[in-house]
Every structure is written in structure tokens, then in C-alpha cells.
Symmetry: C2
Subunit: 381 residues, 2 copies
């Protein structure tokens, strides 16, 4: 029995993916032991989680004393590297997840990666660190998870990855018409319920560019072989085309439950009546349309910098984080997000062959520069 | 080099799947050696094939002397079992493909199975024979091939197979309105170009029931876990649902080229510019609707008998063969196909625990009984 129990650490346990990961742990009490929980500032919920799951260790940006509920406070980077840990779920948001993710990979752990900024920041360094550490990265982000599942058991290289995009909250509007949209409007995703940062990134299509960058590194495939299709229903989570013209698609409800559970139980699959189901027999119409990239300035901008070497992609992730924060706080317009990101990137001095620390520093610089830029910006009316 | 060449026999080389198999052999001259070709009565085309591919052996129902083009005449059952043969493609139509398919399995060959009646006739015997002979069956029929591809690399059992159905030539008409349809009308399939027998079976939905029966045996899954969905575009060739609610689908153009090539090259995949391609990014709308089984009497009838043990499913395949022949020859109405099949099956005396010979005999009896039934039938106006 004991040997079947996977020992788990969750980075970002109070967020959307974090709580859904704990839902799965709760549904399979004999399969997982929570070794560590790490969060940011949502202290009330974090205390409830510590009380329920009784981890050995915790890390928080909030104010909780070591020993709370019997758990010892420790830095996240140390918790993930504990010898007893099997799998670390990086459910953090933004660039903050990088140091602990790197620590898990160096320690040879399995890293379930939902926090796409971590791989956007420095894909080649992340993959290299995993390889050197003997670690495995399992995608939890739903599109890369779909691609990973479609590649399972295939011995030949894929010829093309086709990432599906719902088009986000404003898919039926032109960019020019989005000047006055409010954070509340942008947070209404047509198909997915997710955290605030990723929902805004979905509305700008920045998120889709991040998934292209993420997939380029996770699946070690050139950018030229990755396409995006607008699929409004978010049922096909992505597709893979093979050399002979065959395609495979992974489908499911618009729920993070399936990709989280798949990473946790991989390679096996288990029934879970808590998860929503999709009846493929009666699922109606699924549509696939070419994306007009010119409609989405963030998409083009992100790919332009995401393809560059050095610290540009780290600065991209950092700048976007700053710009989204400004928008969510009502400081800039929705349509200023790409402008601010672009200005920060234009001012960035990239470091060739960066270290992990260079990458983290580039992202930090870009977030702060973007946040500061607003203060002397005259764009906002 | 030599060890990479697969040595091939094709049963039914002049038919639709047979000629497409030879197209692939022609596209990859360094990958295959045609050891044997077997056909029925299309002697002119068969001679062209013998001249081009120069097999060592041939078998024909036509009139060609042994030694033609340097090839020796031999029974198909012997050719498939030759020690040098690696893979046998059963591209025959109807029950006639059974003896040579069984012979290939007994000899431990890889059997690429396009001829679905062979497995409908006696699925359990076929699977048992393959197991005893150490043989492998690779589906070529496009829906089972799709399911097989979706199952690749999965370690857990599927929870459900979802077979897609175009709905055939008369998908927008009621059964009652089909009294006067001609063979020419029934042979106009909306999405696939195939041989006559399978195209009529598609119009009656008999073909879809055969695929359900075929999948039940190939994937060793209960009938209750196999569903059919009406998918008018024939782009998703079938789907598999797993325990966690995840689905995988295999997609492609409506071409037999991909499934044939996949069986020939399995497990690897090779580019082939001769094959049609599907652009998933711009593929538009794919629809999935529940099938109203009551609209398709052949579907219900076939599943009723296909689920029974003994020789019922062999008699089903045989009776359908007779009824389709009568319809194609203008002897009965389209809507009489299920009536005749039903009458023959009602008159069938099933043999418990049948041998292969019992199975072949049951199918032969059912075809002849159905053909004879027409002669003293008063149904035809």
C-alpha cells in the first residue's frame, strides 16, 4: 500500500489549480500524502488547507507561525527538494514560481507544471535543468497536457502541434473596440473558469502565445511547426499532426480536473465522479477557424520576443505580469497592455546565455519597469 | 537495408483497399517486397499488378496460368503462410476472406485487417486463433484503426469507444421513404469512396453495426461500452473515452491511405505526399449527434445477432452479403435488405462453440439461403 502513495508538494495551493489539485487529493485519500503546501497571501484559506491536509512543511508569504497545525515553516525551495517528495505541482501564477520549480527539477522530482510563465521565462534552461537533474516535467496546463497525451505511445516525431484557442472574453470584438473594457468584463471568460492573471492573458491572447512558447520547449519542436486554431467551444484541448497526415486530438470538459489528475496519476487513469464529464456522442458542433493574428497585438508581440534567445522571454513574462496588474487595478486601459509590454521589451538589455538568476532578475526588472512606466505615462485618460 | 523490407501478401489486391495498398507500396519501393497477390475475377487489372509488382506467388479466381510474369499460382491459404511473409493485408470483401486470414493468423503473421466481415463472422475465434498462433491483428478499417491509434500508449483500459458514422447515402431521409432508391443512388456515399458492398452497408448502417462488432472483439470490450455518434463530416474517424473522462480522437482526411499506411509501417509514421491532407486549423465545423437507432433497422438487427454466441454472427455476415448482392442486381428493394437478413437469421440453426469450418459453413448457408429466398419471395413488386 505504502509504495503506491505519491508524496506531494503544491506550490500555490490556494489558487485555482492549487485548490483543484487538493480536490483530487481529497477524492483519492489512499493515493497521496501531502508533504508540503506553499502559498502567497490568502492566509485564511491556507490555514484551512493546513488543518485539513496536515502537511509536514509549509511556506507562505502570509503571517503564519511555524508549527501551525503541526507543520514546520520552511522555504519552498527546500520543501520541494526534500528526499521523500515524489511530485511537485507548480500551481503558482507568474514568475514567482520559478525558484521552487528549478529547485524541484535539480532534485530530480516530477514537476507537474501548471504555471506556464516558469517555462516561458526560460524554456531551454528549464528543460536543461530537468535533464541534468534526472527530473520529469508533466504538463498540467490544459493545451500542453492535450499535446502530451496525443504524443503518448507514438514513436515518430510529430509534424505539427495545433493549439486550440477559445479566443477569450473579447473574441467577437475588434481590438480597436476594446479601449473601454473593464477588468470585470475581461474576467468573464466564455468557456473556462480560471485565476485572474490567466483570464486576462486569455482575453489578450498573450496566454495563447505563452502556450506556443511552452509547447516549443516541452515538446522540443520548432516554432514553425506550432499552429493555433480558434476553437470556440474549448472541448478539443489541442491536436497533434503526424508525418503521415494523421491527427490526434484530446477532448474533455472545460475543467482543469482532468489535466491535473492525469499528471498526478500518470501513466494510469482513474475514475473520479467529482469531475465534470463530456458526452462526445451528443456534443454538437465543434468549430475550427484560422486565427487572424493581426487582431491580437499581444500574440504577435509575445511570439516575436519569445523566439529570441537571451533574457527576452523572461522580460516578456515579467512585463506582462506588470501590465496585467496595472489593468486589474484600473491603472491602465485593456488596450494599453501590449503597449506597456512592448515599451518594456524595447528597453530591455538582454543577457546572452543567461543563468537562472539572470532570468529571474530579467523578469523582476521587467515587472518593475512596467509598473513604474505607468506612473509617468500620459496614455491613460 | 534488407532487414527493413517488409514482405507482403495482399488478399483482394484489385479491390479498393487492395489497389490503395499497392499505391503505398509503390510510394515506398525500398520498404516493401510483394510476395503474393490474390484476387477474385478482375483478371485484366490483376495481370497489370502481377506485371508491375512481380510477386513470387499469386492466387486468383480468374483464368491466369501459373508462371504468368514469373509468379507461381498457389492457394491463398498457402501463400499467406509462407515463412518469408511478414504481413498479410486482408483487403477482401465479405466472407470469402476468412480462410486465408485464419491461415495467416495460424502461421503467426501480422494481419492488416480491412475485411471486417472476417471478424464479424467469428470475432472470438479470430482473436483466439491470433493468440494461439502468436499473430497480431492490426485494424485497417478506418474506425477501428482510429480506436487503435487512440489507445496507443495508454496503460489503463478505455471506458468507452465512440465510433463515428457519417450516416451513409440516405442520412437525411427516413427509412420509410427509401422504398424506391436505386443501387446507383445507394452507391453515392456522401464522404467516402469505397467498394460497392461496403457502400451499401454504409447506407443501411449495417456497416456501422459491423464496426461495433469488430471493435468489441479487436479491443476486447463489452458491447455496452461501445457507442455510435452521427458525425456527418467523416473527419473524426472514432474516439476513445478513458476512466478519467478524457477523450482522444483520431482525425484525418476521408482517405483509406492513412489507415492502410499506418498498419504497414506501424509503429512508425512516414510522410507520403500522395495522401490527401487535412488542415485542422481551418477545418470548420465538426458535428456530433446521437443516432436514432430506430431509423436504421439493419443496425439494430445486426447488433441483436452480433451479440449472440454460436454461428449467428457468421450467418448475419453471410445473409447481408446475399441481400446486398440481390439489391445491387436489382432483384430486391433497398428496404427489403433487413427483411431478408432477418428472415434468414430467424431460420438459422446456430451451432454452439463452432469451429472455423462451422463458421464458414454458416455464412455460406446464410448467403445461399438469402439468395434463394428472393426466388420465392412475393415482397418485390
Amino acid at each position: 500500500m505504502e509504495r503506491n502513495i505519491k508524496k506531494l508538494v503544491i506550490l500555490g495551493s490556494t489558487g485555482s489549480v492549487g485548490t483543484q489539485t487538493l480536490d483530487i487529493v481529497r477524492a483519492f485519500p489512499d493515493c497521496f500524502e501531502v508533504i508540503g503546501l506553499c502559498n502567497g497571501f490568502n492566509t485564511p484559506l491556507f490555514k484551512v488547507q493546513l488543518d485539513e491536509f496536515k502537511p509536514k512543511y509549509f511556506s507562505t508569504l502570509g503571517d503564519i507561525e511555524s508549527g501551525y497545525g503541526g507543520a514546520k515553516a520552511a522555504p519552498a525551495e527546500e520543501i520541494v527538494a526534500m528526499p521523500e517528495v515524489d511530485i511537485v505541482v507548480a500551481a503558482t501564477v507568474g514568475c514567482v514560481g520559478m525558484p521552487a520549480s528549478i529547485s524541484a527539477l535539480k532534485a530530480g522530482k516530477t514537476l507537474g507544471l501548471a504555471n506556464k510563465e516558469v517555462i516561458v521565462m526560460s524554456g531551454n534552461l528549464l528543460i536543461e535543468t530537468a535533464r541534468e537533474g534526472g527530473a520529469t516535467i508533466l504538463p498540467i496546463d490544459s493545451e500542453p497536457s492535450a499535446i502530451w497525451q496525443c504524443l503518448e505511445g507514438e514513436v515518430s516525431e510529430p509534424s505539427r502541434l495545433i493549439i486550440t484557442a477559445s479566443g477569450g472574453a473579447f473574441r467577437d470584438r475588434t481590438w480597436a473596440s476594446l479601449d473601454d473594457v473593464t477588468p470585470d468584463q475581461a474576467l468573464k471568460h466564455p468557456t473556462w473558469t480560471m485565476g485572474a492573471k490567466i483570464t486576462i492573458d486569455s482575453a489578450t491572447l498573450m496566454n495563447k502565445a505563452f502556450e506556443v512558447i511552452e509547447s516549443r520547449w516541452l515538446f522540443e519542436i520548432p516554432f514553425e511547426q506550432i499552429d493555433v486554431t480558434i476553437h470556440r467551444q474549448s472541448i478539443v484541448h489541442s491536436m497533434v499532426e503526424f508525418a503521415d497526415g494523421t491527427l490526434k486530438a484530446q477532448l474533455g470538459p472545460t475543467s482543469m480536473g482532468q489535466p491535473i489528475q492525469h499528471a498526478l496519476f500518470y501513466p494510469s487513469r482513474k475514475p473520479n465522479s467529482d469531475l465534470p464529464k463530456l458526452d462526445a456522442v451528443t456534443m454538437g458542433s465543434l468549430t475550427f477557424e484560422e486565427m487572424d493574428q493581426s487582431l491580437y497585438p499581444c500574440f504577435e508581440l509575445a511570439l516575436e520576443y519569445g523566439k529570441r534567445s537571451g533574457t527576452y522571454s523572461a522580460a516578456l513574462a515579467g512585463a506582462d505580469e506588470g501590465a496585467v496588474e496595472l489593468f486589474l487595478n484600473g491603472k491602465i486601459k485593456f488596450t494599453q497592455i501590449p503597449d506597456l509590454v512592448s515599451e518594456t521589451l524595447a528597453a530591455h538589455t538582454s543577457i546572452a546565455d543567461p543563468s537562472i538568476d539572470d532570468t529571474i532578475e530579467a523578469a523582476r526588472w521587467a515587472t518593475e519597469t512596467t509598473l513604474a512606466r505607468h506612473n509617468h505615462s500620459t496614455i491613460l485618460s
